[in-house]
Amino acid sequence: MAEQTLAPGTPVEEMKPAAVVEVKLTRRSRVEKWAFLIPALLFQLSWGWYPLVVAFLLSMTDARPRGPISWTGFQSYSRVWADPLVGSAFRVTIIYAALSIVLTFLIPIIVAILLMEMKPRVMRWMMILWFLPLSGVASTIMWRYVYNQDFGFLQWIAMDVLGLERQGFLASADQVLFWLIFPGILMFGPGLIYMAGLQSIPQSYYEAAEIEGAGLWRKIWTISLPRIRPIIVMMLTFAIIGSLQVFDWPKLMTDGGPGGASRTVVMYMFDLLNSLRYSDATALAIFLFILIMAITITYRILFKEDPDS
């Protein structure tokens, strides 16, 4: 009714107040907003937060997989807090996260930016080859073989090709974190995401910059990067969270060795679970959760949305 009443072309005289009053309360966009949100809210509540709350409650008990159970308050927390290995696991995790972000985060961005430079046909092929996916299991097998200390491909390169001393690779407490991250430098490319963001930049921006005499790096710095900034911020958030929770990869590659130099918090949590210590594992996870929260919040404050962007 409202539509008919107020649609253009309607003689102005017909716009009577009475006709409008009826739609006064319909806030269609508000209803629609909830229609958009509710399915996701429900799923996130029931399969995201609900299990987490259950797990959290378990951390306040002496829960075991079966058998008697009773409330123990913060006993698990104090036990985990006193465990000397927890501290070293946190240290390893933070170093791993920092190193992996420093070494691997920028590469896909730069590659994506450079790939966009290629001629369309070349780009299509290079894109396939650069971001060619490999299933996780296969890559574990391959890299374990490459890193083998005695006969591995990399040792062969180090000793026979480069003439270096015998290298420890994953077996060296000093190098292990780097070599764990190394495949990520070559293999993992969320580059598609950046390419998706990059191509929304109008050509004219670059032309304008060119007229102003901007060089290659200036264009990347002043146009490409700022324009995909939200995606970068998002990916970085995810990279931080993800690398602080890293588990599968070091578990399969080193199982925490040597000397716990690559044992991350989640790996130690897994050790605790395997020792049938539910509540301790959950308590440790809560500590990690707090750390991740703190880092993420700090990061979001530091990289607050630029009002000019």
Binding site: E3, L6, P8, M15, P17, K24, E305
Partner: protein
């Protein structure tokens, strides 16, 4: 077509990540009331963050007022959705739908309002005629291949095609380069005259506001400081803010003291005419405002002003002398053949003086709109 009335519109600020702490505390719109007459063009001008865009969006229905009423021809549309208010809006960044061609942009309105294909085509053709040469070609193209000016035309076409009650423009030409801006401004003005659509035009540029608007609303911090014609604003500013905001070069405002019937700036001063002294309500500390053209130079009772430099403008057959008076920058219009000096004596023409309260900044005395005819 429609008279738009705003009655005591208040809108609390919705803090976004972009708003500063200070902005977050005050309302975005603070008891705004104004009436936009049928077919008139109103410019809303003010510094950034003053709430002018929010006001425009509230008129469009994109933002809802927390309290107050918006009436279109006495019909309360406060809670009506934007799509049903029959408004057309042009955005600063044109906001064309990037995945559609120009035509698609024009047609979207008809599509969602379930109009017939024929009507849609008919209106598009009509608009193309009004919009002039090449518009048909423009709307056949992808919008992101168009230049800024072309996009602007499509965006305006998109608004006009629906025959809107109210035309809302949010800094529509600020993204164009200077020359194009000048031309487009004229084009828009011509077009608005032709359609006689009620228009609200938001800009941060007072020149543009003056050019476009039949009436001008000056906003600051969510409040309409003054709403009136250019002459109203120029000659009878409601307060210091409006006075300094309107006019080029900006009004010089000098702190002054009234003592013993004399207007004192630092140590020097002039004798105050009686009728002005009476208007000042016996206030002693006040702000004394003068526009560049209000000064008389080299008069006998003038007080010395240090001249920093003189800017001669041959086309205007005049020159601006930029100097300092009472520690404040002052601009004075002088004859173009005035010799280079380091100091000159200046005297206000008393009928062109402005006085403002030092604390409330409200106007105590203004020249008033001159009766030219």
């Amino acid at each position: 077509m429609v008279r738009v009335e705003l009655k005591h519109i208040t809108r609390k600020y919705q803090a976004t990540s972009e708003s500063s702490e200070e902005d977050a505390k005050r309302p975005a719109l603070d008891d705004v009331s104004m009436t936009i007459e049928d077919g008139s063009i109103v410019s809303i001008v003010g510094p950034s963050g003053c709430g002018k865009s929010t006001l425009l969006k509230t008129i469009a229905g994109l933002e809802y007022a927390d309290s107050g009423q918006i009436l279109y021809n006495n019909v309360d549309v406060t809670r009506i959705e934007p799509g049903q208010r029959g408004v057309g809006m042009v955005f600063q960044d044109y906001a064309l739908y990037p995945t559609m061609k120009g035509k698609g942009n024009l047609h979207y309105y008809f599509e969602v309002h379930q109009r017939t294909e024929a009507e849609m085509e008919q209106r598009t053709r009509e608009i193309a005629q009004i919009m002039g040469v090449g518009f048909e070609v423009l709307i056949g193209q992808k919008t992101d291949t168009l230049s800024g000016g072309e996009q602007q035309r499509v965006a305006i076409g998109r608004c006009i095609v629906r025959d809107p009650y109210v035309f809302l423009m949010d800094e529509p030409i600020s993204n164009l380069d200077a020359k194009l801006r000048e031309r487009t401004r004229i084009e828009i003005k011509k077009m608005l005259r032709k359609f006689k659509v009620t228009t609200v035009y938001v800009t941060h540029d007072q020149q543009e506001a003056i050019f476009m608007g039949d009436r001008i609303a000056v906003m600051r911090k969510g409040k309409v400081e003054q709403y009136g014609t250019f002459d109203d604003l120029y000659f009878t500013p409601a307060n210091l803010f409006v006075a300094t905001f309107i006019g080029t070069p900006p009004m010089s405002v000098i702190p002054a003291v009234v003592a013993n019937g004399r207007l004192m700036i630092d140590q020097a001063g002039w004798t105050l005419p009686d009728e002005i002294a009476a208007a000042l309500n016996g206030q002693s500390h006040l702000r004394f405002g003068m526009r560049a053209e209000g000064w008389e130079v080299d008069a006998p009772d003038g007080i010395p002003m240090e001249v920093r430099y003189i800017d001669r403008i041959p086309t205007e057959q005049a020159a601006f002398a930029h100097g300092t008076l009472g520690g404040i920058s002052v601009t004075v219009i002088i004859p173009i053949d005035h010799p280079e000096v380091t100091t000159m004596r200046v005297t206000p023409r008393w009928d062109q003086t402005y006085f403002f309260d030092a604390t409330t900044e409200t106007a105590l005395r203004t020249p008033g709109v001159p009766d030219l005819f």
